[in-house]
């Protein structure tokens, strides 16, 4: 019985797995190729390129393992036989399978031009290139880090860099021959992201460590993870990231077409990522000062309390640099022409600032409600007030800087600004989010009040308990109230909805009818010439019976008021 259940569960898992594959195939199969042949090709590509990717990874690790075992055989006191056996098995299975699939793929690419443009092939190249790039970067950082800090030459890391570097180079050359940069833009942008994130983290770590050394020297307090080793680790990350970013972004991607993907990378990764990092750094600095002034800090001396300064300053510098650079990449703002890209930029940063400021506003209301409720008998200090004020000071200028620019353009170019899709998405996302927050918070608030009421505990302490959900409701309400006022003003100047315009006419008739209609309308006319006498039918069964005996190759069936007319058409 248990064996039967186990078999049944395995079959269910297999059915789910096959179902997922078929779903994916259905998604990627283009319209018009929904025939059995099209689906078959898609399934073939899915398995072919998936298996090829997996055996590529297996074979690469097998090569690395064997080379490492040979290279370190002279210095190893005890062999790890299972690791060697694993590497050998990876080689024995992986290399022949990969070679076979690679030759088969090569033949397909030559004989089927559509194969080069297929999602399967482009997906394989993208995953192989990005995967090998990440391996090269990871092992490079590990290798150089050990070399610079401890003077150790990590053989395994070095071998891995060579093997994965070779995999990356081979696939880069193949991609250059079989695709173009537009087809591989996703890969180029992913590589740019990997490089940018790595160099940003490296710069942050190195700057924080360097500033930490200065802080330690000035105040004799160990700030962040400082020291030469930390600076070296940061520098390694920065150099590896910079090389990858320069190759991918500066050389290969910056000058390519400004597609949606390209703009999404610049706006979301470069600009928004930089803004978030800078805001966190600035906010941490400001919070530290406010907490010192009005909070109840644990540390007894200012030098200990302000030990966060190096790290926070590093985040501010790195974030602001990324933000500034990618702003320049987007292009300068002109006072007259406003592109949709600039509009997205303004709404994106306005939204980020609004989110931070709303957090501060909600925290302020919580503090106010706590003051109305029961007085505390124990409190960790005014840090909550410091958090609220920090979020407001950081969020409001960011929000206002971009929202005031939006208001200016709305005043000078009302129709363009009000009718833009970006503005509508921004407003409706705001309404949706504030509505969701309000509903959930109201649920929690009512639950707490009813519970205290039923237990007979309704009192001043209830206010403390409902402070957070109530503050979220009030904040969501304030944000929605203001933006609804904006929305109402937009509607007053929005262009009137256009009346429907006739675009297409279908004519089924003789030549004279068709000629009259074509002359009498500017819409596109679809013509079907009637060839022979029409027939009438009362029911669908009669229609089907008539079609069975029909001799024309095309027939139009017109249904109206429960009756059917069959019109034979000219081929």
């Amino acid at each position: 019985m248990e064996a039967a259940i186990a078999i049944l569960m395995s079959l269910v898992q297999l059915a789910v797995f096959i179902g997922i594959i078929l779903f994916v195939v259905k998604l990627v199969t283009k319209k018009g190729s929904s025939s059995a042949e099209g689906s078959g090709i898609s399934i073939r590509r899915f398995f072919q390129y998936s298996i090829m990717l997996v055996v590529l990874v297996i074979a690469s690790f097998g090569v690395i393992g064997i080379i490492d075992a040979v290279a370190s055989s002279g210095s190893t006191m005890a062999r790890d036989t299972s690791a060697i056996a694993r590497s050998i098995s990876f080689l024995i299975v992986g290399i022949p399978v990969f070679a076979g699939l690679a030759l088969y793929t090569r033949r397909l690419l030559k004989s089927m031009p559509t194969e080069r443009r297929s999602i399967g092939w482009l997906g394989y190249l993208t995953f192989a290139l990005i995967g090998s790039l990440i391996f090269v970067m990871s092992f490079s950082v590990a290798f150089l880090g050990e070399l610079l800090t401890d003077g150790d030459f990590e053989t395994m890391s070095f071998i891995a860099i060579l093997v994965w570097g070779g995999v990356w180079l081979a696939h880069w050359l193949i991609a250059a021959r079989t695709t173009d940069e537009n087809q591989m833009q996703l890969h180029l942008l992913a590589g740019s992201t990997a490089g940018l994130v790595t160099l940003a983290i490296g710069a942050g770590v190195a700057i924080a460590a360097a500033f930490g050394e200065l802080y330690d020297a000035a105040f004799s307090v160990t700030a962040v993870d400082s020291g030469v080793d930390a600076i070296a680790r940061g520098a390694v990350l920065f150099v590896v990231g910079a090389i990858v970013w320069f190759f991918y972004w500066i050389v290969h991607t910056r000058g390519t077409a400004r597609s949606m993907l390209w703009l999404a990378y610049v706006l979301l990764i470069g600009v928004l990522g930089g803004v978030i990092t800078a805001v966190v750094g600035a906010g941490t600095l400001l919070f530290g000062v406010l907490d010192w002034l009005i909070g109840d800090v644990d540390s007894t001396t200012a030098s200990v309390h302000f030990a966060f300064i190096p790290g926070a300053t590093a985040a501010l510098i790195v974030g602001a640099s990324s933000w500034g650079y990618h702003r320049i990449v987007l292009g300068g703002r002109t006072s007259e022409d406003r592109t949709e890209v600039e509009r997205v930029y303004d709404y994106l940063l306005s939204g980020a600032g609004l989110l931070v400021a709303a957090g501060g506003f909600a925290t302020l209301i919580t503090v106010g409600l706590d003051a109305l409720g029961s007085q505390p008998i124990a409190d960790s200090g005014g840090s909550v007030s410091a958090v609220a004020i920090t979020l407001l000071i950081v969020g409001i200028p960011l929000w206002w800087r971009h929202w005031s620019a939006i208001r200016r353009f709305r005043a000078t170019q009302p129709q363009e600004e009000v009718s833009s899709i970006t503005r509508r998405i921004y407003l409706f996302v705001l309404f949706g989010v504030t509505g969701l927050v309000a509903v959930i918070s109201l649920l929690i608030l009512v639950f707490i009040v009813v519970e205290d009421l039923l237990e007979g505990d309704l009192g001043a302490a209830t206010i403390n308990t409902i402070a957070v959900p109530l503050s979220l409701i009030v904040t969501a309400g304030a944000v929605a109230w203001y933006h609804f006022a904006v929305f109402r003003e937009d509607r007053s100047i929005a262009p009137q909805a256009e009346l429907p315009v006739l675009r297409e006419v279908v004519v089924i008739g003789n030549n004279e009818d068709i000629a009259v209609v074509k002359d009498g309308t500017t819409a596109h006319v679809h013509v079907f010439r009637v060839d022979g006498e029409s027939a009438e039918a009362e029911t669908l069964d009669e229609v089907l019976s008539a079609l069975d005996t029909e001799t024309h190759s095309r027939v139009a069936v017109v249904a109206e008021d429960g009756r059917y007319r069959l019109l034979p058409l000219d081929d």
């Binding site: 966190v280 008998i377 124990a378 960790s380």
Partner: protein, 151 residues
């Protein structure tokens, strides 16, 4: 534009409320908590929770009955204390040498303006008077997380 005045008025109202709240926040921040007589159940609760929030493990454990913490180490408390918090009294009931204090605890974790969150919950401290001092006789938060009655 004339219609823009409505949204501007709404913005001014919200900004005014925020300014008032900032003033309230600063006043609240610099006000110390109300001091209770240490010889009362409220004073004992206050001393215990303030010791927790201040990270003074030995002092916090000293307010518990010895039978509760006979086999527990005060130093373990450091792993269970929040980064910050706030405790308010809901009600107190005294019956001879027995007392119960209902409190609402808000613990916060994470440092800085962008880290962590908070959690609010109720608790009842059960105390017994012994030698003119009140001792907590039922395992309270957060000691209950690592110390069990009887060890």
């Amino acid at each position: 534009m004339k219609m823009d005045r409505h949204s501007s008025i709404v913005l001014v109202v919200i900004a005014s409320v925020a300014v008032v709240l900032i003033g309230v926040a600063i006043v609240v921040a610099i006000q110390p908590p109300q001091e209770f007589d240490p010889g009362t159940p409220e004073g004992t609760a206050q001393a215990y929770y303030q010791a927790i929030l201040d990270g003074d493990e030995e002092l916090a454990i000293s307010y518990l009955d010895e039978d509760l913490t006979a086999n527990c180490s005060a130093h373990e408390l450091r792993y269970f204390t929040p980064d910050g918090g706030r405790v308010v009294i809901d009600k107190t009931e005294v019956d001879g040498d027995e007392a119960s204090v209902d409190v609402v605890i808000t613990e916060t974790w994470g440092e800085g303006p962008f880290g962590g969150g908070s959690n609010t919950f109720d608790e009842t401290l059960i105390m017994t008077r012994s030698n003119d001092a009140w001792k907590i006789t039922r395992m309270p938060w957060p000691v209950e997380m690592f110390c069990h009655e009887g060890g």
